[in-house]
């Protein structure tokens, strides 16, 4: 079977009405789970995986890819409206998304995020089609020093984010590094800084920390007194609830160089095994700020600060899939879950995967690209409902969100309640 034959078979297979419906259902599930703080894309993929056991390969992959694409796009909703990233891939989206929402431009903020996400995803899908095999091999050439440099590069964002007080910014960075060094040392396998508490042997899970740092601190900052707690999130109430799609698209296209650069960053980080959207969105934001003509607007509702992380995090998934289809190595945790789905359906990706099963490779690539079309369609409808969140009094949101995030935190490390306490401690420290 030639690659072109494989492409045609995949296209015919995936565009069958039932498979398209399953892809859309996967996207919708991903959007919903991604919007709940405490549920990562990987969790969403893993949760949906058992439902695909009884399906054939194409519908099963359509659902999984749909969840993956929807999950990363869903994270922007809570990041912007509440200041709590739904997934680690949306951390940088909170920096400018939230201020823009607070200024009463919630429709524009969500529209920018949506279009930037979709364009980033499309671009990475196109690259996925064209250069999957060679780019996948480049990712494998990068060794420990390369990874170290990449992480160090990501950490330089501390400097640009703490322009007000560099010492406090560096202290926050040190506390972050310290938190990750608690538990088992990854090189020697020796536990450290646990104070003899065996619950800390595995270290802190990422999600509870994220919830504690963002959910608790953001909500508490929003309600310094009872009068503030009884007001709604947006200073201007619900304001205009419409999403100005044309305006948002024009703004994203006006910043075409930024979108391209951020997507390229996302693809590159995605290609590196084990790096993921949680790193790429921060690097893209940092680069956007450094290259902007108006860096002083960052952190105050800059459109560039929304476009950069959102185009990068969706593009990262394309990069991760590239390595998966080209070499059989998952680029990030979500791609690892997709790999599990492939194995469940008796498909084992390897360096010869593209030549041996081009039809399945193209099902993955097409599902990724078509999934973004569904994201656009479904988010357009869903955002009209989500955007009403800003009209709800903060104290109601606080009670509900803290419960949901607490439950999500428990879900991430079920055996004990350490995760909940960990969230609480993280927010207390902040």
């Amino acid at each position: 079977m030639t690659m072109f034959d494989g492409f045609l078979i995949a296209l015919a297979d995936l565009t069958a009405p039932l498979n398209l419906l399953l892809l859309a259902a996967g996207v919708l599930a991903g959007l919903l789970v991604g919007a709940i703080p405490g549920f990562s894309i990987t969790m969403a993929v893993v949760i949906v995986l058992p439902f695909t056991y009884g399906m054939d390969t194409t519908p099963g992959l359509a659902v999984m890819l749909g969840v993956m694409v929807g999950g990363v796009s869903g994270g922007l909703v809570s990041a912007m409206l509440l200041g709590i990233p739904g997934t680690p891939a949306s951390i940088a989206t909170t920096f400018d998304g939230l201020p823009m929402v607070r200024s009463g431009q919630q429709g524009l903020a969500l529209g920018l995020g949506l279009w930037a996400s979709c364009i980033g995803g499309f671009l990475s899908g196109c690259v996925l089609f064209l250069v999957a095999p060679p780019l996948g091999r480049i990712g494998l050439e990068i060794g420990p020093w390369g990874y170290f440099s990449l992480i160090l590069f990501a950490l330089t964002i501390t400097a640009s984010l703490s322009s007000g007080n560099m010492v406090k910014g560096l202290i926050a960075g040190c506390i972050g590094l310290l938190a990750t060094s608690i538990g088992e040392d990854q090189v020697n396998g020796i536990t450290r800084l646990t104070f003899g508490n065996s619950a800390l042997d595995g270290g802190f899970a990422y999600l509870p920390i994220l919830i504690g740092v963002f959910a608790f601190s953001q909500l508490l900052a929003d309600m310094p007194d009872r009068a503030s707690a009884r007001r709604s999130l947006s200073a201007e109430g619900t304001g205009d609830l419409r999403i100005p799609h044309r305006r948002a698209l024009r703004m994203v296209l006006r910043h075409w160089a930024l979108t391209l650069r951020s997507s390229a960053i996302g693809i590159f980080v995605g290609v590196l095994p084990a790096a993921g959207a949680s790193i790429s969105n921060l690097i893209a934001y940092d680069q956007a700020k450094k290259n902007s003509k108006t860096p002083e607007r960052f952190g105050k509702g800059s459109e560039e600060g929304i476009i950069a992380p959102e185009s990068a995090n969706n593009a990262t998934m394309g990069g991760a899939l590239m390595v998966l289809v080209a070499l059989g190595i998952p680029g990030d945790a979500a791609a690892a879950a997709v790999l599990a789905a492939l194995l469940v359906h008796d498909v084992a990706p390897s360096p010869t995967f593209m030549s041996e099963s081009p039809d399945i490779v193209y099902v993955i690539l097409l599902a990724f690209v078509i999934g973004h079309v569904f994201v656009l369609l479904l988010q357009t409808v869903a955002l009209r409902i989500f955007v009403r969140v800003v009209g709800i009094p903060i104290y109601v949101l606080a009670g509900v969100i803290l419960l949901y995030t607490g439950m999500g935190s428990l879900r991430s490390t079920t055996p004990c309640l350490t995760s909940g306490r960990c969230s609480c401690s993280a927010s207390w420290a902040i």
């Binding site: 020796i190 606080a398 419960l403």
Partner: protein, 160 residues
Amino acid sequence: MSKRLSGILLAAGLLGLAALMFLQTFKVRNFPGTRFGAEIWSRAILICLGVLALILLVQALRRPATAETRRCLSEIVAREGIALAVFACFFCFLWLVPRLGAYPAGGLFVFAVLSILGPRGPRAIGRHLLITVGVTVVLWALFSHVLMVLAPAGRWWTLL
């Protein structure tokens, strides 16, 4: 609280944390012949943290003292009252989860937060009850039937 006092308290807390954690690094037992011990990386971070905390302390001490500093305690309680209440409710929730179960404990948590922060009065309490029941039912349906998450079940008799 004045910026001076908050800076001093923050720096002192960080120095204490760094010192405590640094002492913990001496309890790390490496395998014989390890070239790069598990404690080295932590110590490097802690030294950086300690130095930065000292700089923060110096910066805070250089600020001029203001009259605000004297009435700090009552101000702390007044300003941080909401935060303290939310944290108290969340710790109660964590304590109750293994005893009452995740959903009843969650419902109590939501009702407590709404009642503490929201308006008071019979109508408001009725609204809070409705929100609590709605949220708990949605949470139960979502976690138990959609996401298939096994939430902790309660052992309420341990409360007796």
